[in-house]
Subunit: 147 residues, 4 copies
């Protein structure tokens, strides 16, 4: 089996191993160097008590968008692990689907800092509903962790 | 239908409406005034690419533990909504199950600040794997939102 | 004494009351609706043990830039108070001066969420050294707090 | 000149180099392995526009309490640098003095996570006014940085 040759293939290959994404119904919408988009169609499996998408689910796609944005700029022998993130919820997460966009702000040798935005889309309109900042640690795949 | 009479009944009643909890397999383990515990058995539905529980799933149970800790000290006519949280991931989330404990640090009239810890349990041992701080806004149920 | 008539006058008037700004040597560089810049010349009064500007000082100007960005979009009868902020330090804070830019991301009735960036400037070059997200609570000046 | 022999001597020695602490009037109150206390007497040099201690100043002493708690458990050849912190402001910072207590939650090889609390003290009473979580990166002093 050939190794993935591009950042996009690498991201999509790793994303396919994140079983939570299949469980909630999320998919990768776009991959560019340093920027990844993930979309989540609204479904009745991912809600909190008022019928909005749960903040933790919003965080799940936002964290993965940020993590894969980081991975997209990493050399092949490095993996990444989230060490912390903070999310501000700006408005209720409702609509036809959510779109999370993660971007690399600074890629250091040991830590990568990312910024992400989540939008709720409905009827052709888009509204920002969350803002996330996340730090990822660069891990040598010699540890056995691979992305 | 009678209204739930205790904080515990209220928390369990609201939790049952969070469809994401059924989707990932989480349940309420304990409710005390100002403190709520949620447990999540390890399963292959909630993982990231290395086989650990996804940071967003850890955040999901931690956020709900904090949110319900806040709700447990609210008057009946108030609901709560998370406005922000930050989570530090301390170690990989693996083991037989995760246990999230949320506690109220300060309950103001408009905002409630909470602190939560998540532990991985395996073979009778418990290890802290995450630390969360979350803010919740107090919402008048006259807005139509109820918990 | 006439009341300040513009957002800029209001911000500068309030900033002049922040005694910490005189103590560290910071000043307002620019005010636009929803965006405020604060600058801090490097000095030997504001350092940590390695000779960089202390992270708390970086946070001080970043928090005020965000808070005044929020205030710049508030009606006259409202004041603002920071309820939380998170800052990622991206690189050591050194150079001729620091420049913090705060912007409003979402202005709700009760809470305002802001995003700020801090840059180190030296020899005509600018490098981002910090990223902040901050929440501010809207306070009725009927409480006695005025900005 | 002899090297500091104890964690406490090491913390106090490094703290003395943080010029911002002299500028605002803060001092080290106590050092134990993994826990450090810093106190700041109220003064008219450190205020925001309402006459409370500025949130950034509260963060400054909280960040240093956390950073020195981390340093207190480090081997002699390692230094620490804050990579991020988040602070929740729970109540206005006023009174006779502030007391910040930082504690190590987890000390990894690359990152140390800490939790801190800040209290306002007045007339023998103490009230918690802030909650902080901070990450510190472990730096080899071979880089030239020493604490």
């Amino acid at each position: 089996m050939a190794a993935p040759e591009t950042a996009e293939a690498r991201v999509r290959d790793s994303f396919a191993k994140q079983t939570i994404m299949g469980t909630i119904g999320a998919s990768v919408a776009a991959v560019k160097p340093g920027e990844v988009e993930i979309v989540l169609p609204f479904s009745d499996k991912v809600l909190q008590q008022h019928g909005f998408v749960h903040a933790g689910v919003v965080a799940t796609i936002a964290d993965s968008a940020c993590g894969y944005a980081a991975l997209s700029v990493m050399p092949r022998e490095a993996a990444v692990l989230t060490t912390e993130f903070k999310i501000n919820l700006l408005a209720p997460a409702k609509g036809e689907r959510l779109r999370a966009v993660g971007r690399v702000v600074r890629a250091g040798k040991k830590l990568i800092v990312t910024l992400g935005e989540v939008f709720a889309e409905e009827g052709g309109q888009s509204k920002q509903i969350a803002l996330i900042t996340a730090s990822l640690m660069v891990i040598d795949t010699g540890t056995g962790l691979r992305d």
